[in-house]
């Protein structure tokens, strides 16, 4: 062993401690960076050189230390768990959001909702039944009927507006999925080339993990690491990202609610792989919730069902009122009149309008038998509100149904969010930087650096004795 070997041992320590200190500095610098995974310099002692002969043995201490690797202290299993929980929780919270928005457009229970308008309408018929000769009562009735049809139409329109917004969001989110997937593929490429040249790509991996978790929240993506350091991103069993290539997805289907959910052959909104045109089978994520919200009523689409409920109320109102009203007579003896009319080209809730003027309200029965000022038909009409299959009952069922589903969705969103928070906490407790720990590491590296410097001094002094003091005996 060379006399100077000790110097290089001390030097290796100086270098290694400084590198480790730099890693600790990087950790401290990124203590609050989202997605940053803490790192650690892996140090390995360097063993002494062995003589290249068969029976030679190693003599003496090793020759120092080296940093072999800057380890990234992540955990792929915790990452996977966080992603699957993120997918579930994004789906549930998107569902809860859209239902609670739908619920807010109902404005029930209140004195201003559709239920209140229906009740005012039936009460208006009672007033007409009491005073069939009074034009004021009939005018009030026709006015209330107009307010009711407007309210049904605006409720239906609010549902359509929500549908349109969800449709636009679907397109935006699809674009986001594609750009994020492209970013993952690009990072894969960079990471692979860095790793091939023996470098450290920890920061790139952090970024990639963030992107993949975002994809999990959007489309329920799962990651599948490969040996070359790249990661495949799978959606519903198919690769969204494979190595450095991306399979883009696109949203297809009508841009109008009527086109996507109504008619004999609706054109529902769906996600397909851009290259093959086959459907993407989503397993969670915000986009999956959007597709469920946008689906036709037969597939359980939230908004389509809500619109259908408005239509049901409007149609039932039209049929029940007209059936009785046609049998009634106006004060001038006219009969067979429709009270409401439906525009067949539009959804019933939008196409419903009042067909009569206040002079044509048929409140009475046959005038020859019952007299021109009879109010029996108006009285019978006012009883529709209390009938079991009437518009009031339909509306109440719809409101309660939305209420129950919103409540369930909110509870589920809370539960899945708690699970996601737990998973994130577990991941964070593994990956996040602890400043106390880093301070202690810095302390340790600093001391080791000082120690190595002292070793250097000692050897230097030893060599000084050897070089400068040897051979001066008796001088």
């Amino acid at each position: 062993m060379s006399s100077f070997a000790g110097l290089s041992t001390a030097l290796s320590s100086l270098i290694a401690q400084r590198q480790a200190l730099e890693v600790a500095g990087q950790n401290v610098a990124n203590a609050n960076t989202p997605g940053y995974t803490r790192q650690r310099a892996d140090m390995v002692s360097v063993e002494s050189l062995s003589a290249p002969t068969m029976f030679s043995t190693k003599v003496g201490a090793g020759v120092g230390v080296k940093v072999t690797n800057v380890a990234r202290l992540g955990d792929v299993f915790l990452d996977a768990r966080l992603r699957s929980e993120t997918a579930t929780s994004s789906f549930s919270s998107a569902q809860a959001r859209s239902l609670s928005r739908l619920e807010s457009t109902l404005s029930e229970p209140a004195d201003t909702g559709v239920a209140a308008s229906l009740q005012a309408f039936w009460a208006g018929w009672q007033d007409v039944a009491n005073n069939p000769q009074d034009p004021a009562a009939r005018k009030v009735l026709v006015g209330t009927a107009g307010a009711l049809t407007t309210q049904l139409a605006s409720g239906h329109r609010a549902v359509e507006t929500q549908w349109d917004q969800a449709r636009t969001e679907t397109r935006t989110l699809t674009t986001e999925v594609n750009t994020t997937a492209a970013a993952v593929a690009h990072l894969n490429e960079q990471i692979r080339s860095v790793l091939v040249s023996g470098g450290s790509a920890n920061e790139l991996m952090d970024q990639r993990d963030l992107h993949i978790t975002r994809l999990a929240g959007l489309v329920g993506a799962a990651a599948r690491p490969r040996d070359d350091g790249t990661v495949d991103v799978m959606v519903g069993g198919n690769a969204l990202v494979r190595g450095v290539s991306v399979n883009a997805i696109e949203a297809q289907g009508s841009y109008t609610m009527a086109g996507a959910t109504a008619g004999p052959s609706p054109d529902p909104v769906r996600l397909v792989w851009a290259n093959t045109g086959t459907r993407v089978e989503l397993q969670g994520g915000t986009l999956s919730s959007h597709l469920a919200v946008l689906a036709p009523a037969t597939d359980g689409g939230t908004l389509a069902r809500a619109a259908a409920s408005y239509d049901d109320v409007a149609r039932t109102l039209h049929d029940a009122v007209n059936a009785l009203h046609r049998s009634g007579y106006t004060t001038t003896g006219a009969t067979g009149l429709d009270f409401f009319t439906l525009d067949a080209t539009r959804p019933p809730a939008l196409g419903l309008s009042v067909a009569v003027t206040s002079d044509d309200v048929a409140a009475g029965g046959d005038p020859t038998a019952l007299g021109p000022f009879d109010g029996s038909v108006a009285d019978a009409l006012s009883r529709i509100g209390a009938s079991s299959g009437g518009p009031d009952a339909l509306w109440r069922d719809f409101v309660v149904d939305v209420g129950v589903r919103t409540r369930t969705a909110e509870q589920r969103a809370n539960v899945t969010e708690a699970a996601r928070a737990t998973a994130e906490n577990l991941r964070l407790s593994q990956t996040s930087v602890d400043l106390d720990e880093e301070t202690i590491s810095m302390l340790a590296y600093q001391r080791a650096y000082e120690g190595a410097a002292r070793v250097l001094t000692v050897i230097d002094e030893m060599l000084d004795v050897l070089i400068n003091r040897t051979g001066v005996v008796g001088r």
């Binding site: 009460a123 009672q126 005073n131 009074d134 021109p372 009285d379 996040s432």
Partner: protein, 295 residues
Amino acid sequence: MISRVTHQTVQRSTLANLQLNLSRMSDLQGRLSGGKVITKPSDDPAGTAGAMRLRSDLRATEQFARNAADGIGWLNTVDSALNASLASLRRARDLTVQGASSGSLGPTSREAIAIELEGIRDALLDQANTTYLGRSVFAGTSDAGSAFVQGTYDWTGAPSGSVQRRLAPDTTVRADSDGRVAFGEGAASVFALLDGIAADLRSGTDVGPRLAELDTRMTAMLGELADVGSRYNQVMTRQGQIDKAVMDLKGQLSAVEDIDLAEVLVELQSQEVAYQAALGATARVLQPSLLDFLR
């Protein structure tokens, strides 16, 4: 699994807890300021169903109260018209008795009685044509303007027409009176009868036999009055019940929808304490660091 605790995890969980506390506070404050437990259906779907049903019942019952008030107006009018008619009829009977009993009356006296009887006939016709809010109460569904035609005494009402007021989901009460029963119709009417008596008096015919006819008419009128009275009673009773039902429904609605002020205030108070405790804990946990203790 003993998880590693870092500043970031502490910070996160503290923030999450503070958020939770604050959102509960805001929920309670919203309830307190709004005064309602149910502000949207999902707050309590079952309660919402109940509240909506109660609201619709309340609206319907309030309408029944309006109907009852209207019905009372009609029946009052009918009642006072019949009472006035009965008084007139009694006077007519007295006059008829007077005309019948003394054959010694001279033509002048008979003429005077006949004129008064005609006056009573006009008064009766006025009563019979009483209107309420522009409608004849003795021919409720008629649009003729008067229940009995001047001269012919024809009844203008429809044969089976009646004015009904709905006082409950399955109860209606008749609010008008059938003029044919109370006054008779055409030649058989009380007006024609009085005309006949006046003519008899003028021509010197004995009007004694006419008394029986007058009594028949009076009995019919009394019967109708009793009928109207019983209906009036029915509506009054029903009105009391309706008022009570409205109170009950409002109470039930309030029980379903409105907050219990004391309960919410106590909850808010304890939530405030919890929030302050969480803030205090945050201040202590996030403050210290190892750096404070090194050199």
